[in-house]
Structure formats: structure tokens, C-alpha cells
Symmetry: C2
Subunit: 414 residues, 2 copies
């Protein structure tokens, strides 16, 4: 495949998209949803073949599950496209602006970044989600999915390109690297003249390798060592529900809870209550000395536990002396992804949200709600753990840059 030609074609498409109306882009997104419904059978057949081959190759069952397009996932893909169509246009927002005393009108207006490359693994829904986010923000997208889902992705991409073309926009708004060749990625990462941002979705080593191997800006999505701090003034019943949901709703995802911090004053009441729920759910508890004193079946945590993203039914638990110690623990051991406090005390809630420097800071809510859906952003292409450019869920607004437009009537520099 000629990756450079693909990148140049994406840049051309991006230029056209940048001046297309928000209405035209919304219509294309709706058309993409419609076309997806039209090719459903074909998609399901292609996906069944992908799944069959993955099983044949002996790939792990968890991997195969991510690869499979169930009826529920299919409906979700269609819905994400329709939701994206309905969201307000992220392009052309006046982010700030003023008329200066000289009469010069200066406005900072959002514009698309240009060309977005997404490198991801198995899930075919990333193919449509990422295209939805990109097209909503008037960016052209180059998709590089995992080779295991290549048949499914072909059907999806063909359908989306057809819909975009029929809606009167450039079909190269969505392009797909139809190759299992790793050289294609290396070539893509060289296209810093044409590609404006790379978003890798996958393991830490993939992300590291990509960000060190390119001059294109990379939006990174690292670990989620997420905390909940149960303060002295927490409602115990609510705290148990929120903590258990944070840990057990899905253990293998980045916004699952890994470490529980409990104020010493509430520990004797809260810990036995939450431990009972964890036992029922089969969650292993690894605690500090004080935790182990209160919970006979907790095993002693090692220093390493506090820095571990388990992604498994295991939780580390530490009793702390108040907010300051909780914040210090999060600062020292957290990954800046998602951290929450459970409290009925307004001052503590305010102090926690001000002092904890994480992409998402929650009050009385499950860490599992950290994400674009719960925040009303619709489809996202990932959750950034960077502070630069995009932080937290990466939706259409995060794939925008801006320009300054200054309008005068003969204004000069004096």
C-alpha cells in the first residue's frame, strides 16, 4: 500500500471537510448509520469468519470476545453514529473573543486538527466510533485496525465510505490500511507532513513504541490506577455501593477501581460492610496493617500493590489519617486517570477536587462513570492520560485546534 499517497489523500479530504457545513457532516453521519444497517448481514458474516479464524489460531477467549460483533454491539455502533450526528457541532465555536478598544475584533474559533490516525487492536466498534468522532469534528481519519478483524473492518469501512460519498463529502474522509503488514504503521508514523495526530489504542508498550517513533503528536492513553477515598463523613451504604460498582462492574478496564483509601474514623464501620460485598463478588483484598487488623481475611499488601493496575478481581486497601494523607497517596501512587471521594462533607469534596490532579475527579460516583458517555460527549476515541492538548475522554471537541480571526478596517501597528 502507498501510505504516503493515502496520507496526502487524507489531507486533501481534510481541506474539503474543514469548509463543509456542520449540517452536511451530520447528514453524512446519519447516512453512515443507515448504510451500516443495510450491510448488517454482510458484516455479521465477515465478523463470524474473523471470529472463526481467531479461534482456529488459538487466540485467548477474552480476545475473541472483544472481536465479536454481537447484536448488542452492532446496535451500539449504529447508535453512536446517530448520536454523533445529533451532537452540537464542535467546529466553528467561538472559544473566546473580544472587540478591542482599537475596534479590532479578535475571535478564537475552533477548527479541525486535520488528519487523525488511529491505531488499534481487535474491537470492530472502534472502526465506527473513531470515524464518528473524526467526521463530527471535520477531521479525515486513517484507520489501522488489528489484522484479526480485517474482514469486519473492510465491510464497515466500505459502507461508511459509500455513505459519505453519497452524502456529497469526500470518501477519503475515512481510509483504512487494509494490510496486516507492520511496515505500514512505521510508514504512517513518518507522515508528519500530512498527519496531525496519532491515537494508539492498546497496551502500554504499543503506545510507548509509537510515541517514541514519530514526530507526529500522540494522544496517549496509559494506566488507570484509580482510587476511591471514603471520607469520615461518607454515607456508608452509598460508599459500599459506589466502591463495589467501581471495582466489580468490569475489572479489566482502565477506569476500574484498584486502590481503596479509607479514613481511620470510618474504617471500623465501612470496611466490614464493603468486605462482605467483596467476598460475595470474589474480590481478593490486600490491605495495610490496619486493614488486616479489621478484616481477618485480607492479605497484607506489599509496597508494589500500591503501584499496580490489577485489571483483575483484586483490590488494595489502605486506612489513612484524613484527606491530606489520601491526596498524598494518590499523588504518589496514582496515574492521573480517575480518582474519587465519597463524602457528605462539602469542604472535603471541594478540597479533594481542587487538590487531586487527575483527568477525572469524582464525588460520590463510580469510577466506571469516568468517560465520554457519562459526561455527555457521545462516542470517544479513547481516554487521554496526557495533560497536553487533550485530557480524559477524547471526543470531537478534543480533535479540534483553533485559529484566531481578526477583523479590522485598515488597522495598523503604530
Amino acid at each position: 500500500m502507498d501510505i504516503k499517497a493515502m496520507a496526502m489523500a487524507a489531507k486533501d479530504a481534510a481541506r474539503d471537510l474543514a469548509t463543509a457545513s456542520g449540517e452536511a457532516r451530520a447528514k453524512a453521519l446519519d447516512a453512515m448509520a443507515g448504510e451500516l444497517l443495510a450491510v448488517k448481514e454482510q458484516l455479521m458474516a465477515a465478523n463470524a469468519e474473523d471470529v472463526r479464524q481467531a479461534r482456529e489460531q488459538g487466540l485467548p477467549e477474552a480476545f475473541v470476545r472483544r472481536l465479536a460483533v454481537t447484536e448488542k454491539i452492532f446496535q451500539y455502533m449504529v447508535q453512536r453514529l446517530r448520536e454523533a450526528a445529533a451532537l452540537p457541532d464542535p467546529v466553528g465555536r467561538v472559544l473566546e473573543g473580544r472587540t478591542m478598544p482599537t475596534g479590532l475584533k479578535a475571535s478564537k474559533v475552533s477548527v479541525p486538527l486535520g488528519v487523525v490516525a488511529i491505531i488499534y487492536e481487535a474491537r470492530p466498534n472502534v472502526t465506527t466510533d473513531a470515524s464518528a468522532v473524526a467526521l463530527k469534528s471535520a477531521n479525515a481519519v486513517i484507520l489501522k485496525g488489528g489484522s484479526e478483524s480485517i474482514r469486519s473492518n473492510r465491510v464497515l469501512v466500505d459502507a461508511m465510505r459509500k455513505a459519505i460519498r453519497e452524502a456529497g463529502l469526500p470518501e477519503n474522509a475515512v481510509q483504512f490500511i487494509d494490510s496486516a503488514d507492520h511496515g505500514a504503521v512505521a510508514e504512517l508514523l513518518k507522515q508528519d507532513d500530512y498527519v496531525d495526530v496519532v491515537i494508539p489504542r492498546g497496551g502500554k508498550s504499543l503506545i510507548k513504541a509509537i510515541s517514541q517513533g514519530t514526530r507526529i503528536p500522540v494522544i496517549k492513553h496509559y494506566d488507570g490506577i484509580c482510587h476511591q477515598y471514603v471520607a469520615a463523613d461518607a454515607d456508608v451504604e452509598m460508599a459500599v455501593k459506589v466502591v463495589v460498582n467501581s471495582k466489580t462492574d468490569r475489572v479489566e478496564v482502565c477506569n476500574a477501581l484498584e486502590t481503596l483509601l479509607v479514613d481511620r474514623a470510618i474504617a471500623p464501620v465501612f470496611l466490614p460492610a464493603v468486605a462482605e460485598a467483596f467476598r460475595q463478588k470474589g474480590v481478593e483484598m490486600r490491605g495495610c496493617q490496619e486493614t488486616c487488623r479489621i478484616l481477618a481475611d485480607a492479605v497484607p499488601a506489599t509496597a508494589e500493590d500500591w503501584d499496580t493496575e490489577y485489571l483483575a478481581p483484586i483490590i488494595s486497601i489502605r486506612v489513612v489519617d484524613g484527606l491530606a494523607e489520601a491526596v498524598r497517596h494518590i499523588t504518589d501512587h496514582g496515574s492521573g486517570h480517575t480518582d474519587g471521594i465519597i463524602t457528605d462533607n462539602l469542604r472535603e469534596a471541594r478540597a479533594f477536587t481542587a487538590m487531586v490532579d487527575s483527568a477525572s475527579v469524582l464525588v460520590n460516583a463510580s469510577t466506571r462513570l469516568s468517560g465520554g458517555g457519562a459526561y455527555g460527549m457521545g462516542a470517544v476515541v479513547g481516554i487521554s492520560t496526557d495533560k497536553f492538548h487533550a485530557r480524559g475522554p477524547v471526543g470531537p471537541a478534543e480533535l479540534c485546534s483553533y485559529k484566531w480571526i481578526a477583523e479590522g478596517n485598515g488597522h495598523l501597528r503604530q
Copy 2:
């Protein structure tokens, strides 16, 4: 110098700054301005010594001029600090937010990036301007100025740190690498655990070397190959004034005009008028064939001219067939810094601002107005030619990231 210790101290100061009130930071900025006035004599003496030594070393006169703190520059430094104090707080702005149907309140709130490193050359006013922008946005700053201004910078930094300390904020909010050793910069660029962004101010080779030698995000400030397009409907008198000001107000700066594009319909009237003004100002004209036909004293432009940032009293001039050709020229040859149109036609003005993908797009205004001052941003630390994170003038708002704060009352993921 122990650069790592300095970076760690900056991170600690940044944590304190992040929770200090906007009022406390504004008071510190005012105190910095006051302290600058208090050390004026000492500063002027130190600067005179810097200037004397630069002359002794035979440094170019233009360089020495940038080094010298004149009365006007001193007043400007003080004023920039006071202006920064008075600007609205860029931290804690709710950038977007909503209450979801579930009752979860999600807000995207601006926060400081953390630690900003600025690497620059001679001008001592960067020392105070950069500190003003950093402190306004609650960032800690590490300054590495040119060795030629080291005496001036010492006085400035000591005064600013004293003012910050007395205002009750951590003095390590402003730190200065008091060393001419190039190894210090290399060491600084390794501190990606503590430094959140690097802003080099200087030549292209400095910026390239820095951005290739670090994993810290870099805000880059490359060439300004700036254009003015004089459309068919331009007011000729205004166009002459704006174009001449764009080119001649100061030729050596990044927002000076380099290439003039003129619609064929207005060229026979406009070009002789502007040429007369250029002759009076001693500007060399390098034209396309059509330009040379109209202006007997224009020399033929070579292909290279269209891609050159002269930073000198030279202008390249091309006659084009309307807006589309002008935009195409800017797309092919511009650097995305600052480009303007001069027209009385509303449709053309709109099309130009939509189609030209530059950090600043101007209508009927001098390219020299592209910058933080004319846009009401106050002091800036540079003008970014990146699209990622910060574009155009980099003021306090551009040194911010954000976090999502989500508040529930026991919200779970279902």
C-alpha cells in the same frame, strides 16, 4: 547546578500554586511589578554591564540592541506584570459542562499544566513576561536565558522571587538556571517526570534540536511566511497602508509580511501605488512576470522567493486570478503563521477566513497585529505555529490543561 532538584522543586511549587486563589496570584504579580521598580537602579547597572561585555565580545549590534533594557522596555516590563495581574483568571474556568439526565453533574474545568520551562536568548523582558504568563496561569516556571543577559536576569529573578515569597506564595514558582553551561539544558530536557511543557524561543535550529531531544511536549514557534491578499474589491488607499505597515513596521519579526498577492483586476491600480511607498521605504520588490510588467523596477522572483522568510526589507509580489488562486498559493507556500485579506467584499472575507488554515487570519488589518497584545491577551511567551494544544499567541490560557469533575450522589454504572 542540580537541575533535577530544581525540576522537583518546581513541581512542588506548582502543586501549591494550583490551589492558591487567583487573587493571591494577582497580588503576587502586582508585588513583582512593585519590586521591579524597587530594584530599577540595580537592574540598569547589571544590564549596562551585560551590554558592555556583549560589545566587548564583538556581538552584532542588533543582538546588543535586543539585550539592552531601555527606559521604555523597563516600563513595558512593569506594565506587563500589572496587566497580567488585572487579567481574568485563566484557572478554574468551566470550559463546558452539563447535568446529565442521570443527575450526574460533569464539568470540564481549566487547571494549570504544572511546570513550564522557557529556553530563550537575549531579551531580558522575556524573563518577566514569561514569569507573568506562568504565574497568572498558576504554573511554576524554569527560565533558561542567554548567557549574555545573565546579570540582568539575576536581578530580575531575585526581585520576582522576593515579591512572590512576600506575597505568601512559593518562591520556586520562578526559578532561573544561573549557568551558561549548555549541559544544563540537556539535563532539563530529561526531566519529563517533572516538566510539563518546554517553550523554546529562538531560531529554527534551536527549536528543532530541542523538540527532537526530549519527551516533554514542546510548543514550537517556527517561521512566519506571512501573506496579504489584496482582493479585487479592496479599498486601494487602505490596502496600501495595511500592506506597507505589514512589511515595514519591523522587518525582522515573525509577523512581518513576506509575500503580497494581488488580484489581477486591481493590480494595475494598486501595484503602482504600493510600489511608490515601498520605494520610499527602501523595500526591494521581487515580482512574478505580471508584476514586473506593471512595475519596471521590480526584479523577477525565483521559485525560492515564494518559500522565503526574508526578515529583511524585501517583498515578493504575485498577481493571482482571484481568491481560489490566492488561497492555493498560501496553502502551498505559507507557514500557517499569519495571513490576511484586504477586501470590502463580505463573501470573499468569509471564504478567506474559512479556507486559510493559519494560526491568525486577518481581514483588513496589518499582519503586525497578529499577537497577544492586539488580541487582548496581555503578555505572551511566544507565537505557536503548532496546531496541537496551543496555536498562535501563547498566553496564560494556553498554559492551561483541564480536568473533568463529576459530582453524583451515589451514581453507579449500570
